[in-house]
């Protein structure tokens, strides 16, 4: 697919993902800037201090960080043509990403029962939209990884297609980095 020689010697799809990530930076930048500019502007509770659970989210942050490690190892395995480890590490990314999403579902439903809804106050609106869109990105990533895993199980994901995994990995690491910013801005610096 990227057989033609390119000007910079970088495959087109890889460059496209970097370019897309630049665009995504502005997307999450706008969401985070809005969260910050509305911080403390809510007229009623619950406030972040009352409701955010830092220990729990630290665990899910750790889980997501580990998924990036699994991603790196999956790419390494596919480049070496090691099918077994490719499947194992891709499976690891999927399980860890799924755990993170599970944590988010638990957190959202817990907040909902505590009275924090989209409509309750500005904190609810900005928090749910920011972390919700991040969660949506993780979901897309997990579906992508499942697709790659199915390809591997069918035997169509050899070293010649390692670029497929590399591009998916770039996306995955980016989504991970965004979470580190969100975790810092929303949870740690209140």
């Amino acid at each position: 697919m990227d057989a033609h020689a390119t000007t910079f010697g970088v495959p087109n799809r890889k460059m496209a993902m970097w370019v897309f990530i630049a665009s995504e930076c502005m997307f999450f930048g706008s969401l985070i800037a809005t969260y910050l500019s509305y911080e403390g502007k809510s007229l009623v509770g619950p406030t972040p201090r009352e409701i955010l659970n830092i220990p729990l989210t630290s665990v899910s942050t750790f889980v997501l960080l580990m998924s990036s490690l699994a991603m790196v190892l999956a790419l390494d395995a596919v480049q070496k043509g090691d099918r077994r480890m490719t499947r194992a590490w891709l499976g690891g990314v999927i399980v860890l990403g799924g755990l993170f999403l599970g944590g988010q579902v638990f957190e959202f439903s817990h907040f909902y029962h505590e009275g924090l809804t989209l409509q309750q106050n500005l904190f609810g609106a900005t928090f749910f939209v920011l972390t919700g869109f991040h969660g949506a990105h993780v979901t897309v990533g997990v579906i992508w990884m499942i697709t790659l895993l199915v390809m591997s199980l069918r035997g169509t994901l050899g070293p010649d297609r390692s670029l497929d995994v590399e591009v998916a990995g770039l996306y995955w690491h980016f989504v991970d980095v965004v979470w580190i910013v969100i975790f810092t801005v929303v949870y740690l610096i209140q």
């Binding site: 000007t7 910079f8 087109n12 460059m15 665009s23 706008s30 509305y38 989209l118 500005l122």
Partner: protein, 630 residues
């Protein structure tokens, strides 16, 4: 297209052959460019009719052509249509068609993503105009300021149509920006360094980067608005602590770069047309390139000059005022470079040159009134008056429309394979130039006299009638000029003189191939060792700084590829995915079931597309082939 008469003479006339199915599944950048161009010109007529009704209503005091509500809908649809459905896609048409030809590529980096971008734009534009027939058109202005768009003050479906359709078209823009950024950076012919890239491609690159970085801001602004309207959040609702100013910030962080997204393609066209018709290299080309980059860069730091009237405070006002004035410097550099290009040249007075010179002249007027608005006290005086309407139309109409028409006339022979009438072309120019000045210059006077924007009628004793009547007459002169263009276009397509490969004796790669180009663009991948490769081949070294080497230039393309050329197969999956995306968005107006159907179609289309090989059995191939080509 009717080439039938000349089809035998031109082996490449099959480029546009084929039924609707072939157009729905095309992944050829040239055909997609034509699709963008036809859509944009159709919407140009639609948006123009909206403008004519507005002008009829304002022609005399106490006008009764339309009521206040319809008037609001008309100026909203006029603005939205002209920005998103005319100027951007018309630029996209030229980008699509010309960029691969100018950089020596056989197609864009992602041909199917390109098709997806077009169809997403097209379905989004249909959704916007569907509001005329279902429910009601949006009525909060193309800027959609918060609270005008809130559910409380605007409960109808018009705003929903507007926000969903522009959101969908924004996705098309981002997809296309990714595609063309990679194409320009990574698909250049051997030897085409960045500084040898044609100016049009340079300005296109800056435009793509602006789209990449500006559109996410309005995407987020729209997400907040959608949540406010559909899920009852309070992002823009003051009673719950929100602020409508948030919308203005997000909108203009997008909106001001958007101004440069609209004008830079036109700058690029002019930078190609002026050198070609004055038989000289562009004066100080690197300065023009770096000025374009600087304009793009500064364009992100000036958004709040649209918001001086909201009272941002002295520090913010000063900073944004200074940044805005700074932009005048690179823009002025370009204007002097264009004038210096003409200076001492062998000027050939062809229609593209008329439009390019017209663009420079009219853009200067719009640029000067723009510098006036950089000063907060002046801006606050003129805010929301017809003076601003005059300013923005000198920039968008005088600047963008004239520039894009220059490009259309310049590349018309290359795209269609036929020449377009010079006499009617010049008539088009003069009518459009006269009509445009008649329409928009009096608006300066009206604004200075205090006439506010967006009022649907005014009292007779205010003394605004005379200049409003003049403006309305001017608008109809513009309409007449567009009619002349359409007649000229039809005459060219139905029996125009056949175009040679290089009718203007131009300098860049697109003129080294037949008109229209063969499907594969380049029979042999060109080697480039100059910024003006074809000129160098034809005329030898000139005083162009990039040709100080004893290079030989790039020869014209042979008629047939000496080696086998494989092209991507047509694919309908990107089109289906775009349809799914449009149903996903538009479905929000109908019900959850349609949203889910849209998502299902989108996912299905994307997966079929992702797992379909780019080149399948029976894909277009040319030249000598072991198993026999087409």
């Amino acid at each position: 297209m009717s080439y039938s008469a000349a089809a035998t003479a031109n082996p490449h006339a099959s480029l546009y052959a084929g039924g609707i199915r072939s157009w729905l599944t095309t992944v050829d950048h040239k055909r997609i460019g034509v699709l963008y161009g036809i859509s944009a010109l159709l919407y140009f007529v639609v948006g123009g009719v909206e403008a004519l009704i507005i002008r009829l209503q304002l022609a005399s005091a106490e006008g009764t052509v339309v009521g206040a509500d319809t008037f609001n809908q008309l100026f909203t649809m006029h603005g939205t249509t002209m920005v998103f459905l005319v100027l951007m896609p018309l630029s996209a048409a030229l980008f699509n068609y010309m960029i691969p030809l100018m950089i020596g590529a056989r197609d864009v980096a992602f041909p199917r993503l390109n098709a997806f971008s077009f169809w997403t734009f097209f379905f989004g534009s249909l959704l916007l105009n569907l509001s005329f027939f279902v429910g009601s058109p949006p009525d909060a202005g193309w800027f959609g300021y918060a609270n005008l768009t809130s559910k409380q003050y605007n409960p109808g479906m018009g705003i929903d149509f507007w926000v969903l359709s522009v959101q969908i078209m924004g996705i098309a823009s981002i997809a296309s920006a990714v595609n063309f950024t990679v194409t320009i950076l990574n698909m250049r012919a051997p030897g085409m360094s960045l500084m040898r890239m044609p100016l049009f491609v340079w300005m296109a690159l800056v435009t793509q980067v602006l789209m990449l970085l500006a559109f996410p801001a309005i995407t987020v602004a729209f997400i907040f608005l959608l949540f406010d309207r559909f899920f009852g959040t309070h992002f823009y609702i003051p009673s719950a602590g929100g602020t409508p100013i948030l919308w203005q910030h997000l909108f203009w962080i997008f909106g001001h770069p958007e101004v440069y997204i609209l004008i830079l393609p036109s700058f690029g066209v002019v930078s190609e047309v002026l050198p070609t018709f004055s038989r000289k290299p562009l004066f100080g080309a690197p300065f023009v390139i770096f000025s374009g980059i600087l304009i793009g860069f500064l364009g992100f730091g000036v958004w709040s000059h649209h918001m001086f009237a909201t009272g941002l405070g002295a520090v913010a006002d000063t900073a944004f005022s200074l940044a805005t004035m700074l932009i005048a410097i690179p823009t002025g550099v370009k204007i002097f470079n264009w004038i210096a290009t003409l200076w001492g040249g062998h000027i050939h007075f062809k229609t593209p040159l008329y439009f390019a010179v017209g663009m420079v002249a009219l853009f200067i007027i719009g640029g000067l009134s723009g510098i006036m608005h950089a000063s907060p006290p002046v801006d606050i005086q003129q805010h929301d008056s017809y003076f601003v309407v005059a300013h923005l139309h000198y920039v968008f109409f005088g600047g963008t429309v004239f520039g894009l028409f220059a490009g259309l006339y310049y590349w018309w022979p290359k795209i269609t394979g036929t020449m377009i009438g010079e006499g009617l072309g010049k008539l088009h120019f003069w009518l459009m130039a006269i009509g445009m000045n008649l329409t928009f210059f009096p608006m300066h006077f009206l604004g200075m006299d205090g006439m506010p924007r967006r009022i649907y009628t005014y009292a007779a004793d205010l003394g605004w009638e005379r200049w409003n009547t003049v403006a309305t007459i001017g608008a109809f002169v513009i309409a007449l000029s567009v009619l002349v263009f359409l007649i000229n276009a039809v005459r060219s397509l139905t029996g125009g003189e056949r175009a040679t490969a290089d009718p203007w004796d131009a300098a860049t790669l697109e003129w080294t191939m037949s008109s229209p180009p063969p499907e594969y663009n380049f029979a042999v991948v060109p080697k480039v060792n100059s910024a003006r490769p074809y000129w160098l081949y034809k005329h030898g070294p000139t005083r162009d700084i990039s040709t100080r080497t004893k290079a030989e230039g790039t020869p014209p393309q042979p008629d047939n590829p000496p080696e086998r050329v494989d092209l991507p197969s047509p694919s309908g999956w990107p089109t289906l995915a775009a349809l799914g995306l449009a149903l996903f968005g538009g479905g929000a107006l109908v019900g959850l079931w349609l949203v889910l159907i849209g998502v299902a179609i989108l996912v299905f289309g994307v997966y079929r597309w992702a797992f379909q090989p780019l080149e399948r059995a029976g894909h277009p191939s040319f030249g000598p082939a072991p198993t026999g080509g087409r």
